[in-house]
């Protein structure tokens, strides 16, 4: 029975599980979280990533680089209509083309299902780009030529692209239940909305829209698959080897033991490379059909069109405030554009949006209405900080507008509504560094110099703005790690993760080095292969890799160390309790002259000594019950607006982030800077521009799409880590990858307003929108 304790938060008593007991490891190993002021040797320091060397020499191999003997190249024929039945499909010309090895379509592979409503190869396509047929050939060129030789006759059906149009009666009905996902909006409510609004002194209502941001990973989506002797091996551009392996086994009805997924290096994911897509299954099927390894990658156009994107959202926020700024009620509605099929994309379209509105500010009376709408487009997906980013881009502009109306400083309004409790479940947070983030950001930035309005005339106006940052933590799903110690003293951490490149390897090495107390150079990390690694994480999404895997690694290292001490006791011929270890030397407490260094002890391991290797096992336990993990921060920017061109340039940014204990401050800074710049891109430039008639993306290339370049970034991007002492797990970590995206929109839009007095509630804030608004204002 877990030990419970009572804590008082904001004057109320909560019964929660005691962390020290809850985090006790296997065999009773005590692994309480590190202490607040504990001196740590490796954790919390700057260490370059171990794998960076291979990347700067060009040796690092990505799935895109995999070339196998006899490998064939595959291309997919995709639908050119947004809703159509296939009347006829003629593949014989393609099959006859020299160099073509296989052509698959619903005619010869119709039984391979994709999900509950569709096959991998469709005979009724619902969006431009749906998979119709695939070709494997000796070269990509031949495969491409062959795809063009396939003739399709369509019966074209009505389709709908615009989200509002899709909601109107009489719109083409895309699903049996209609165009709103599962038939009706999803509503969350607490308190009494009418009473809340009645109690308000000021009521404000505004509508915001956010655009379809694309992940735009530099490495395109795809894999190399080889089906050989009943075993499927896939080199995949993936965020998680275990999830891809599990889903491929499921879709292809193979035992898990017959599928192996590898990922040594990943060229960007940002949420778009979790799990499997049709191309994985197609590559596997083509390999089974030809007996050869198959390389199937989407090209850049297909990636923009099909690999998923952040949904377009229309968000209406109505809120009531007391004169002092206290929120009395929020009524929030989000319409999100989904795809044609009933898949997980519909969750990302709207139900995932809105948690900051529900959680970030104390508000007893609230209603959130999420309306995910089907259209004849590809499905949206999780895009770095999914849901929270879209929501905060709106909510944080709204709070700025409210602050002005209430004549309050934007930070003062936010502080007035601060809460240390996760309202949907009435659970206190393990930690909430929001106040500290505001304070530190304001100090570093010089927020007190902010004037309510820019007084500068002329064409270059400067303004400053801020936004809160919010991301939801997780409950601590099952996660395992192994730590092996070899005879030469090498420590190997074995984790089942892909390699996103944000530094999990060095972080896990730091944690093991810390726990065992060995130099970092002696620790290597094995990863990236679903065969032979434990289940550390299914896929690296949700900013969980360190938060999930780190505690398991620490526990495995502690287990290994305990075994090492037993071995040292044997070596020194003293009882285990008499052994102490410091600075690489084991010694008997009772007889300090009895000692052995690290390698003398590990030298007793291995077959030559007739001993097993030493393997420490660790698993992550769930967070102690009764409390919630959330991640917070504050971002501040200064912008310069050119009123002649409409250009908005961010001059500097201060990013204060509470993610628990920073493990590696170098990779930490890089993550935060990179995330913020993705947010800046979404705020100012990025959107999938679709042809209103067909839904084809018109800017499906890097040149026109608008990812930020080195010329678009602020001169200064200062990262301020806010270290909260979080007790949800034994390494005090909360997660960092996604939160940095979430604050950029609000901060930039608010700074634009501060500079010019115009509000742009429709992201991205393009020069033409700024110019239009400026003209309308005079």
């Amino acid at each position: 029975m877990a030990a419970m304790k009572q804590i008082i938060v904001e004057g109320k008593t909560y019964t929660v599980e005691d962390e020290s007991a809850a985090l006790q490891g296997e065999g009773g190993t005590m692994l309480a979280p590190w202490g607040k002021n504990e001196t740590l040797k490796y954790v919390g320091k700057r260490f370059p990533k171990k794998v960076a060397r291979e990347k700067v020499t060009g040796e690092a191999k990505y799935a895109y680089d995999v070339q196998l003997p006899g490998m064939l190249h595959a291309r997919v024929l995709r639908s050119s209509h947004a809703n159509a039945k296939l009347l006829d499909l003629e593949t014989s010309a393609a099959e006859k083309l020299p160099g073509v090895r296989a052509v698959l379509s619903h005619k010869n592979a119709g039984k391979q299902p994709w999900d509950r409503e569709r096959a991998v190869f469709k005979d009724h396509v619902r969006l431009i780009g749906d998979d119709i047929a695939a070709v494997a050939a000796d070269t990509e060129q031949i495969a491409d030529d062959a795809v063009r030789l396939i003739k399709v006759k369509y019966e074209v059906l009505p389709h709908v692209i615009d989200v509002r149009e899709a909601m109107r009666p009489g719109a083409p009905k895309l699903q049996p239940y209609g165009n709103i996902w599962e038939g009706k909006p999803k509503v969350y409510e607490r308190g009494d909305l009418a009473k809340g609004f009645a109690a308000a002194d000021v009521v404000l209502e505004e509508t915001y829209t956010t655009s379809e941001q694309h992940h735009a990973c530099l490495e395109m989506h795809g894999c190399v698959a080889h089906w050989q002797n009943g075993m499927l091996t896939v080199w995949d551009s993936t965020q998680g080897v275990h999830l891809t392996r599990d889903l491929l086994a499921l879709k292809l009805r193979l035992p898990i033991s017959k599928v192996r997924v590898l990922n040594e290096h990943l060229g960007g994911g940002f949420g778009s490379k979790n799990g499997v897509k049709e191309y994985h299954v197609i590559a596997a099927m083509l390999s089974r059909a030809t007996g050869s390894p198959i390389r199937l990658f989407l090209d850049r156009f297909e990636t923009f069109l099909l690999s998923s994107h952040r949904p377009l959202t229309i968000q209406k926020i109505k809120a009531g405030f007391k004169k002092d700024g206290a929120l009395t009620a929020i009524d929030y509605e989000v319409i999100g554009r989904g795809g044609a099929w009933n898949d997980r994309g519909m969750y990302w379209a709207a139900p995932a949006v809105g948690s900051p509105t529900n959680e970030l500010y104390k508000c007893p009376n609230l209603r959130t209405t999420n309306i995910p709408v089907h259209t004849n487009l590809s499905s949206p997906g999780a895009c770095r900080g999914p849901g929270n980013t879209e929501n905060l881009f709106a909510l944080e502009q709204f709070m700025d507008e409210a602050a002005e109306k209430l004549d309050l400083d934007p930070i003062a309004l936010r502080l007035k509504n601060f809460t240390a409790v996760y309202q949907p479940k009435n659970e206190p947070y393990f930690s909430n560094g929001l106040r500290e983030s505001y304070e530190a950001a304001a100090k570093t930035f010089g927020w007190q110099r902010r004037k309510p309005k820019s007084t500068v005339e002329g064409t270059k106006r400067r303004g400053i703005g801020m936004s809160a940052v919010h991301w939801h933590g997780f409950e601590g799903e099952p996660s395992q790690a192994l730590v092996t110690i070899y005879p030469d003293g090498t420590v190997e951490v074995n984790v089942g993760i892909a390699n996103l490149g944000v530094g999990a390897q060095v972080i896990f090495a730091q944690i093991a080095a810390e726990e065992i107390d060995v130099p970092l150079e002696m620790v290597r990390v094995a990863y990236g292969d679903s065969a032979g690694t434990p289940y550390t994480i299914n896929s690296s999404y949700g900013s969980r890799t360190t938060f999930q895997g780190g505690p398991a690694v620490r526990m495995a290292a502690a287990d290994a160390k305990q075994q090492l001490i037993a071995l040292a006791a044997e070596t020194l011929k003293v009882p285990v309790a008499d052994v102490q270890y410091a600075g690489g030397v084991f010694a008997a407490k009772s007889q300090p002259e009895k000692k052995a260094n690290f390698k003398e002890v590990t030298g007793k391991l291995g077959w030559m000594q007739g001993r097993h290797l030493l393997i420490g096992k660790g698993k992550r336990l769930p967070n102690p019950a009764g409390r919630k993990v959330d991640i917070f921060g504050a971002q501040m920017v200064e912008v310069e607006v050119d009123t002649a061109s409409g250009n908005v340039k961010v001059l500097r940014a201060v990013l204060a982030h509470d993610s628990g204990r920073p493990i590696n401050t170098l990779t930490y800074e890089s993550q935060v800077q990179g995330g913020f710049i993705q947010g800046l891109g979404m705020a100012l430039y990025e959107e999938r521009i679709l042809d209103a008639e067909t839904g084809v993306q018109l800017n499906a290339n890097y040149h026109e799409y608008g990812c930020p370049t080195a010329l678009d970034i602020p001169d200064q991007v200062t990262v301020v880590p806010i270290e909260t002492h979080d007790l949800s797990n034994n390494i005090n970590a909360k997660g960092l990858g996604e939160p940095p995206v979430t604050g950029a929109g609000g901060a930039i839009a608010n700074a634009l307003y501060n500079a010019t007095g115009v509000r742009i509630r429709d992201y991205p804030i393009t020069p033409s929108k700024v110019l239009q608004a400026l003209r309308a204002a005079v």
Binding site: R46, P48, K49, V51, A52, R53, K55, V56, T57, G58, E59, A60, K61, Y62, Y64, D65, Q67, T139, Q141, H215, A216, C217, L218, E219, M220, H265, L266, G267, G268, F270, D299, R300, L500, G501, V502, G503, L666, T667, E669, S670, Q671, Q673, G674, G675, F676, I677, Q678, N701, Y702, H703, C707, P708, T709, A710, L711, I713, D715, V717
Partner: protein
Amino acid sequence: MITITLNVNGATHKVNVRPGESLLSALRLGLGLTGAKEGCGEGDCGACTVIIDGRTVDSCIYPAGEAQGKKVRTVEGLASNGKLSPLQEAFVEHGAVQCGFCIPGMLMSATALLERNPKPSEAAIRLGLSGNLCRCTGYAKIVEAVRAAASPA
């Protein structure tokens, strides 16, 4: 197929190419040099950047045949005898690398920049890297690494 001769990182190679095949494809498929990356194949991202006779080129849209008789340098040629170039070293030390897919191209652009202009201003560094997209790092540490590798002012 046509056989052409390429001089890559100081060594001469014979390689078979299709008419119109890109230099990037010849390097990656023909010579197995996968350091130069393909991020778009359309000349937009710079991941495929190599240096030809001192100038940076998007090798994905540069015909392999055009490179005959010229000196091609790729990321594989930056380190010598296992020793990283100062620029490569700076990228590692300054944490300029995340996923790393843009890095080979970034390094080639930065190498060409520093060869042209050993003491570039901040603006010159940014301009010099502006043809290379990075989706991960937000460029700050990349710019910092280039600044650090530039000869001391």
